[in-house]
């Protein structure tokens, strides 16, 4: 195992633990903080994939800006433990774990079939891959249409949010 592999497993296990924390913890604030942790580990994996710009944006925007806003709102709402209701037993989480296990085994088996594959995967990337320059160039040339569509999507999102949230228009 080389350093890269060690780091990968570290980040991967961390990300999985963080995501589990999001769904498993009872307190919404713990969930939000777990999500921040998961974002950090994911950013680590992005770095290993040479997607440096993505990693930094992930931390700045997701972990830094969006999640901080989430936490603000959650703390303003300030739900106490008793407001969350009594702990109840339900079969749904067990079924969920079962389904998740089935899906993971199936997909895992699919991945294992590539373990000894010698054929080249489309993994060869140019040296400039993942830099801000290359992403900017791609956004303005090959991915111009998606770039513009995202801005439209944001407009629709803003209008929708105002429409749904505002008491009187």
């Amino acid at each position: 195992m080389n350093v890269e592999q060690v780091l990968f497993y570290l980040f991967a296990v961390g990300a999985i633990a963080g995501c589990s924390g999001v769904v498993l913890s009872r307190n919404p604030i713990n969930s939000a903080v777990s999500l921040v942790a998961a974002f950090f580990f994911l950013a680590g994996n992005y770095v290993l994939l040479h997607a440096n710009f993505m990693a930094i944006v992930q931390i700045l925007v997701y972990a830094g800006a969006i999640m901080v806003l989430f936490l603000f709102v959650l703390m303003l709402l300030n739900q106490r433990d008793e407001e969350l209701g009594p702990r109840t037993f339900s079969i749904a989480p067990l079924l969920g774990i079962f389904a998740a296990a089935v899906v993971s085994v199936t997909i895992g088996a699919g991945f294992m079939s590539y373990r000894n594959a010698t054929a080249n995967f489309p993994g060869e990337v140019p040296l400039s891959f993942g830099t801000a320059e290359q992403i900017g160039r791609s956004l303005m040339t090959t991915h111009l249409l998606p770039f513009e569509l995202v801005s439209l999507l944001l407009l629709v999102g803003i209008v929708s949010a105002v429409v749904v949230a505002k008491r009187r228009l």
Partner: protein, 552 residues
């Protein structure tokens, strides 16, 4: 390096028109006094939507073109579906005026969101790249979440919007997850590149099971299945339909018709593009890695659940919501037939006609329902609708026509649509499919679907029986508005036109099939004559086949 040319813009002109109109409506709304009714915005919206429909009819290319560096496919499928969703949008906008005033939610954003949703559908149907597909889908979905939750003071509407949002977000996540698999395997998000990589001679390694012991799903199939499930959620097909009845009965009534009709046909059109393109085997026999099996089971579940539960519903909107699940099933039935080479062209023709008939009649039915109401709500139970057909003959007749179309009875569009759909599915049974049992099962499904559509038809006929039955015990107001009348008239004329003279729509469907299917499939002479011949058929030629709905 120039990012685009005027040809690129021309291909997206209908979507561009819709978006610009949406922004114009937003701006017009800013300069409105709060008390001023927004009727004129409804007319602006309808005009823009009809203009977009007209433009997409006019610019429809004779040969499919790839624009935006491979991101967008500009062909008959995109143009036809854009035209019909835009018409549905116009009908919905026209039918919303008085309803929104009555509920005190008469604001311009409503119309802007309708236009944005239609633009999103147009982009989604024209997409030739998963990134564009996702963005178009999300644009339509986000606008539709907000439209569903538009009655902010109603808990029911907020609940509906929330449920729709949660399930919709799950669907989007599954879509992205599935795309991640395909992109990881092929190194691209473009349909053409993914299709080429999955059909390449060395692609067998993706499908081979190295161990031979462990139950194994090839990764391309995992990706395709995830994408397919995402679309099933968005289309409210069983077994992923649980959000639909709540969302459809909580949303503002006119919007429901748009959501369930236009949303469904845009989704199924995008699926057709995927499954006739990147996910198809070279000769289209059964589809890559047997996706027909998936479509088959989803179709069976949707048809059974949708029709049978619709029969038990007391509220008209819930009944329509459940039967919309059944309609999703019929559309999936056509998708199954796409996997059989001999029936592929017929299935595309059938799905275009069926989708058009369903989207228009559904939008019409819901705006008629929105015109009747009491206590700031709409008439919804069968009792409330009793006798309204005699009191308001024109509206009653129109609603009956739309319901007859949905039930699949002549002379409405639904009859011809169902006929060509079921005969295509039956013809597909004669063809060769992999896995082989699929073809035979398709025939059984066609027969079973017919029987169940009779059951579903009874649910519609019960509403018509009430319309012309005893008078209601409760007082129900009729809220007439010239815009509503216009919208209903458009929908009724189109429904009758497609029912009596389906030739033109079938020709469009034929064009779509010609441009969508690979050349090898076209060259193969169809051994089984599909219901609708390729040339423009006269209405008479289509009708004399054994009528399925005779038991009614």
């Amino acid at each position: 390096m120039i990012g685009f040319t005027s040809a690129d813009l021309l291909g997206l002109l209908p979507a561009l028109l819709l978006v610009l109109a949406g922004m114009a409506v937003l701006l017009l709304e800013v300069f409105q006094r709060a008390s001023f009714p927004r009727t004129h915005l409804a007319y602006v919206t309808a005009l823009a939507a009809l203009a977009a429909a007209g433009v997409s009819y006019l610019i429809a290319p004779a040969e499919p073109q790839t624009l935006w560096g491979g991101m967008v496919r500009f062909d008959a499928l995109g143009c036809v579906i854009t035209a019909f969703t835009a018409v549905a949008c116009a009908i919905t906008a026209l039918g919303s005026t008085r309803y929104l005033e009555e509920l005190e939610i008469d604001r311009g954003e409503y119309y802007a969101l309708l236009l944005f949703a239609t633009a999103g559908m147009s982009v989604m149907v024209s997409a030739n790249d998963f990134v564009v597909l996702f963005l178009g889908l999300e644009m339509a979905a986000v606008a539709m979440y907000a439209l569903t939750a538009y009655q902010r003071r109603s808990n029911l509407s907020s609940e509906a919007g929330f449920k729709y949002f949660l399930l919709g977000a799950l669907g989007s996540a599954l879509l992205v997850y599935g795309v991640a698999f395909l992109t990881g395997l092929t190194g691209s998000t473009g349909y053409d590149e993914i299709g080429a990589a999955l059909r390449a001679p060395d692609a067998a390694r993706h499908f081979a099971n190295p161990t031979g012991v462990v139950p194994f799903l090839p990764l391309p199939l995992v990706g395709m299945a995830l994408i397919f499930v995402a679309f099933l959620i968005k289309m409210a097909a069983a077994p992923f339909h649980m959000w639909a009845p709540d969302a459809y009965s909580g949303a503002p009534t006119p919007t429901t018709g748009f959501l369930s009709g236009a949303g469904k046909i845009a989704g199924v059109a995008a699926l057709f593009r995927l499954f006739a393109g990147p996910f198809a085997t070279p000769d289209l026999s059964g589809g890559l890695a047997g996706w027909t099996t998936l479509a088959f089971f989803a179709a069976v579940a949707s048809i059974v659940v949708g029709n049978l539960v619709a029969l038990t519903q007391k509220r008209v909107r819930r009944m329509l919501a459940w039967s919309s699940v059944a309609h999703a099933g019929y559309l999936l039935l056509a998708l199954c037939a796409l996997g059989v080479k001999e029936a592929a062209a017929g299935s595309i023709r059938a799905v275009i006609l069926y989708g058009a008939a369903y989207a228009i009649a559904n939008a019409g039915a819901f705006i008629v329902l929105a015109a009747f109401g009491r206590d700031k709500a709409e008439a919804d139970t069968l009792d409330e609708l009793s006798g309204l057909g005699r009191k308001h003959p024109a509206m009653g007749l129109a609603l009956s026509l739309f319901l007859i179309s949905a039930a699949g009875l002549p002379p409405a569009a639904g009859f011809v649509a169902k006929l060509s759909l079921f005969s295509t599915a039956f013809a597909a049974g004669e063809g060769a499919a992999t896995p082989a049992y699929c073809a035979e099962m398709l025939q059984w499904l066609a027969v079973g679907g017919l029987v169940l559509s009779v059951a579903g038809g009874l649910a519609y006929l019960r509403v018509i029986a009430h319309l012309y039955g005893r008078d209601a015990h409760v007082r129900v107001d009729y809220r007439p508005h010239p815009a509503t009348t216009l919208g209903v008239a458009i929908a009724a004329v189109l429904t009758l036109w497609m029912g009596l003279m389906p030739g033109r729509v079938l020709v469009w469907g034929g064009n779509v099939a010609k441009q969508l299917l690979p050349a090898e499939v076209q060259a193969a002479p169809a051994e089984v004559a599909p219901a609708a011949p390729t040339e423009a058929p006269k209405a008479i030629e289509v009708v004399p086949l054994p009528t399925a709905e005779l038991p009614l």
